[in-house]
């Protein structure tokens, strides 16, 4: 089955720090996504990428950027972390033309 690996399970950062969240997949899927999950709000799409160096904004891109230099790796960047970015971040992949998403285990980010 598809394996989606997120680099950190827990992360604690200070306000104003630049934060990198890494996601690596092993199944050659074209599409990759970053979601954040907050209690009562469900999963909200931050950014997605449908090819190397290609990206599209999701519903809540403000304060975030992404990078996809290789097909298997999709990075989420918080340019200057703020306390309201404390959340669970989930990476997902999808084979082009198929709807099913495969998720990583998530990174619980705390910004103090």
């Amino acid at each position: 089955d598809v394996k989606v690996t997120q680099s950190s399970r827990y992360l604690v950062k200070r306000t104003g720090e630049k934060v990198f969240l890494e996601c690596v997949q092993d199944m050659d899927h074209e599409n990759m996504f970053w979601y954040r999950q907050d209690p009562g709000l469900g999963l909200r799409l931050i950014y997605f990428s449908y090819d190397v160096k290609m990206k599209e904004k999701g519903d809540i891109p403000e304060g975030y950027s992404v990078s996809r230099e290789k097909k298997e790796r999709f990075s989420l960047i918080l340019e200057s972390a703020s306390t309201n970015q404390t959340s669970m971040y989930l990476c997902a992949t999808q084979q082009s033309g198929r709807e099913k998403l495969f998720f990583g285990s998530g990174t619980q980010l705390s910004v103090l």
Partner: protein
Amino acid sequence: EDQVTQSPEALRLQEGESSSLNCSYTVSGLRGLFWYRQDPGKGPEFLFTLYSAGEEKEKERLKATLTKKESFLHITAPKPEDSATYLCAVQAYTNDYKLSFGAGTTVTVRA
């Protein structure tokens, strides 16, 4: 804008006590409705995709159904290992990639 509302927020069941979870949605042209299961500390895991009203899918003690306005996830004779958060999501024909998720229903099954 696509909207997904799940109810109840939380459900506590006795082992063997069957129940249903609701997912109400509004979407401009439903391409697919998805159910995922999420265990604590893990990412969501795919369960079902439903495409048209009247469709049903089953997996072990879970059965998902779909109407034009809502979907139900029926849990028959649940066991403690069915305890999880169940997420519903929709995808519209107008968007090839994006799934819009509900907030989920957290199910706890007591032995």
